[in-house]
Symmetry: C2
Subunit: 232 residues, 2 copies
DNA sequence: AAGTGGTCTAGACCACGTC
DNA sequence: ACGTGGTCTAGACCACTTT
């Protein structure tokens, strides 16, 4: 007889996933308690807990104290997107990276940007720059930085290093939001990205804070054909 | 005198995050070993491990056996997108959900779809459907399902329930890939989504497998103005 | 009130990678 | 070879939630 051995939390996780996928534990049903599973698997409850927690984080289990653990009815799969530096992204594709600053000015931000950041009339650094891959336009970066939050950026040479890269290295942030959308190329965008006006462009808008202090808001407009890919 | 108390792994995590953000542990620098931190924090090494592992998963620390733990030079922030069923997404916005099947046929899939799924000439179910929010077009679903992988789908009434929803409930998958892009509306898409041809549309392409068996490949084309939002 | 997951501890052994 | 993180154990107490 002797049940198979489950010595590691990963082997327990594999077995749990197998039972879920095989419908031995159907969606919505309650699964045995940690203590029972520990006995069945012949390991410590801590190990079972580690495994179940990992599966729950993946969205396949719902766990609640007292209520127990149930197989998720609508497995909310989570796709994780890694937000990297643009230079690293391009070089990772095996292409040559180049960067061209188009504009840098100190101004009051337009109303929509102020609203996103929750500020009023603070002086902002406005930077527009183009990132190129193998000498062809890759993405247009349109950025506002709240100077009071990152005063040292005024001493950075943004003709050589992108604001994107400088901020990643020098301006830590605690949280932010990010939005993905599609947008028709404006006349200006079409010129910079070497495409036709009205072309469908992939856009990422990101706003970040350091604690309560707003840092920056950026709009990245990608050249036609860009695809953001990840795994499930 | 007496160092502050860190009884829980979350309090340890908070302190670690504070030191990283405050640059007490600058980017690229090595931080003390788990054992040393356990002594400093006055807790078990297990607790320190739990905290550091969580911070490492968030991308702020790089951990390697023997090499030790370092503050990440380029913190790779991860955005997690939850993939839900479309009806839940629309109802979650407080809008009325409606669904209209446009087409369902059993055919051989076109070459690009076969290539994505890694199959040849298998019979496929092809479904085209429109999801509406408050009676206006929300997203167009264009889907291919490999019948051999999910035979029971032929008995489902896809005029009432969307293939999206049926599959989530009845066809478990182990892994998949997902791509986001922007695309100009074709004549057909413009008609279904009630927009102008050439309009910039947000597109999600998803392909899923159950183990080695390909399940389905779907292209979701959203009506103009759609934004996919998440937090960092 | 009681049951379930969440967490902490102290000690131990192990796997991996760097030296 | 050896140092560091990775994990396991057995037992205990606690927090949250539902009954």
């Amino acid at each position: 007889m002797s049940a198979p051995q489950f010595n590691t939390w990963q082997s327990v996780q594999d077995e749990v996933l197998r039972r879920i996928h095989a419908r031995e534990w159907p969606p919505g049903s309650a699964i045995p308690h940690e203590a029972d599973l520990a006995v069945e698997f012949g390991c410590a409850r801590t190990t079972v807990n580690r495994a179940l927690r990992a599966v729950a984080e993946a969205g396949l289990l719902d766990r609640r104290r007292k209520a127990g653990t149930r197989v998720a009815l609508h497995p909310v799969r989570k796709a994780t997107l890694s937000i990297t530096i643009i230079r690293a992204e391009i070089e990772g594709l095996g292409m040559a990276y180049a960067y061209r600053r188009i504009l840098a000015e100190t101004v009051k931000a337009p109303a929509p940007v102020q609203r996103r950041l929750g500020i009023r009339n603070d002086p902002m650094l406005h930077v527009r720059a183009l990132h190129l891959a193998d000498a062809t336009p890759y993405v247009l970066e349109e950025r506002w930085v709240r100077i009071a939050s990152v005063p040292t950026i005024m001493e950075a040479d943004l003709t050589q290093q992108s604001a994107n890269e400088w901020l990643v290295a020098n301006a830590p942030f605690t949280h932010g939001d990010i939005a993905f959308s599609a947008s028709a190329a404006s006349e200006a965008e079409a010129t910079f990205l070497a495409c036709a006006p009205g072309a469908a462009l992939f856009v990422i808008a990101r706003t970040t804070w350091n604690g309560a202090a707003p840092i920056t808001s950026v709009r990245l407009t990608y050249a036609p054909g860009y695809r953001m890919v990840t795994e499930l």
